[in-house]
Amino acid sequence: MFDMLFAGFGSVMTLQIIMLIAAGVALGLVFGSIPGLTATMAVAICLPITYGMDPIAGMSLLMGLYIGGVSGGLIPAILLKLPGTPSSIATTFDGYPMAQNGEAGKAFNYAIVSSFLGGLLSIIVLIMIAPPLGRVALQFGPFEFFAIVIFSLTLIASLSGDSLPKGIMAGLLGISFAMVGAAPIDAFPRFTYGFTDMNAGFNLLPVLIGLFALSEIFISAEKKVKKGLNAKLSKVNYKVSIKEYIAQGWNFLRSSLIGLGIGILPGIGGGTSNIIAYVAAKSSSKKPEEFGKGNPAGVVASESSNNAAVGGALVPLISLGIPGDTVTAMLLGGLVLHGLQPGPLLMQNSGDVVYGIFAALLIANVFMILFLFMGMKGFIRLLSIPQHILYPIILALCVVGAFGVNNRLFDVGALLFFGVLGYLMIKFGFPLTPLVLGFILGPLLETNLRRGLMLSQGDFMPFLTSPIAAAFLLVAAASVVFAIYSNHKKKKGTSVLNV
């Protein structure tokens, strides 16, 4: 394993790739710190830049963006009580009161160091468990894969969003959009309604960019912001003693493990983990009443868990080809773009790229902590760039990205279509993540179902008699029952995530 990792470091230790990682982290931090711009958007916009690069260079840039994008949110969360990304919502609870008490520097120190350590821990776990998991997954046949996909889809639908039926509906819509174009196995063109442009189906990138970037632009068009954000940080005192760090040790470990576990589950990532880790820290604290008034433990819990979710979310992506959250869905698009086949075979066929990704993550994590400590003033200044200047530029870049996939204007049209769809879904209260995951997993589901039925000559029983498949289907059923139960409880006013 270590020789592979060293080889990975060897392949990214060129000036060009190191610069790409650094640029990725810096840009990711900018996107993460400006509220309304997200890590997903940063990856979406930079994907077209990687078209001409070799796979390791391209993926390294994207890893930098991912790490930076998740981490940048802590800046406005602490200074302005505005989470830069959903990953930093819980950081506002105690980070902002700390800043109000004149401890902004201390809050930054805690947040940045726990981001770094949480990220580091999760990357190490990723490096240790993804390769063996991928080897196990190599043994899986269509029956097992079908069950894993069903399991992932039910988890996504039941965990994201407030309403279970709407989550499931969004997932089903995603599966349906993936059916447009040539069918798996026999390539019969479906749902094209006579348009030859539709034969190839919708490309993943316009779907993702439309849903997550364009929809934000429409939302921002609804309301005109009169005042730009104005954050000031006059004197920074970053000083935190070693003793204070050690006092957070157990809290840090628990939060990181929560983030890691939630990251591994498909469909939810940093956006959920930071709140759960915060609640866990609060409820296990001896003085829960201090939370929300500037307790550093709240900042540590939130920031270590959201960065730990990064490594977690990459585990199913690298070992199974199943994305763990929206950014990893985008990264999956990046892998496909570079001609790499995501799935258990990825490790075997392109092990060099996978270990390059691991090395890039470790390097990006170091850049993240360096940039945040050294460039804090600069990032704070960037917060005042108004959205009405940023969004039009982002749209132009989205159009370039969608066009660049195949040099087709059809993809740009699809981009607009999914932008409008994303906007309407947000307006009508449907979560977007299940749609994306349904779109990615739908074809896998159908291919494995049909392949399995060909293998068993039309018999459905092997889907239930294979022990691994049966176990996953059982857990999937259990997660639906649990979701219905908690949905029911939430309606009565006792939310699981009641903070």
Binding site: I49, F188, H388, V399
Partner: protein, 166 residues
């Protein structure tokens, strides 16, 4: 009004979509001798979608009965805030129209010119009247468009449409 019945509307709309999906799938021919052809999954998905669209619509209908005019659910509350903060759907529609125009004219006029026009107009739509700095916007749109165009054509090799110049 729309907010109150949003789930009813979306449920009924999705029901119609699933019915269309189900019947479109009848025309898919099986090209293999397998038991499960290309129509199998679409029809299963369409049936499940139909069931959940009814669940959503009925749930929405019940919700609208429980809270007739009082605004106490989170969604209703949000809607109230929207009214006081003067949210308007007009700029959304204008933005959409602008984007459609941009995409349609892109191959004829070319990326360079269309992007300048698009970015400039979109900035005007998104900005508040007190923040409209015409010359700054014009400068930003020209610089951005030119940078993207030359960078992507010459460095990243994405062949953006040239149109009337080039």
């Amino acid at each position: 009004m729309v907010a109150k019945y949003e789930d009813v509307f979306s449920g009924i709309f999705l029901l119609v979509v699933s019915v269309i999906m189900f019947f479109t799938a009848y025309s898919f021919e099986a090209l293999t001798t397998s038991l499960v052809g290309p129509a199998f999954m679409p029809q299963i998905i369409a049936i499940v979608m139909a069931i959940f669209s009814v669940v959503i619509a009925v749930g929405g209908f019940r919700k609208s009965k429980v809270i007739p005019e009082e605004k106490n659910s989170p969604e209703q509350h949000k809607e109230e805030l929207i009214v006081t903060e003067k949210r308007s759907y007009k700029p959304v529609l204008i933005s959409l129209g602008l984007m459609i125009g941009y995409v349609i004219l892109l191959p004829y006029i070319g990326f360079l010119i269309m992007t300048v026009i698009y970015i400039f107009l979109q900035m005007l739509i998104l900005s508040h009247i007190t923040h409209r700095k015409i010359w700054l916007f014009l400068l930003i749109s020209i610089v951005t468009s030119a940078t993207i165009y030359y960078l992507f054509r010459n460095v990243f090799y994405v062949m953006l449409p040239t149109g009337i110049i080039g």
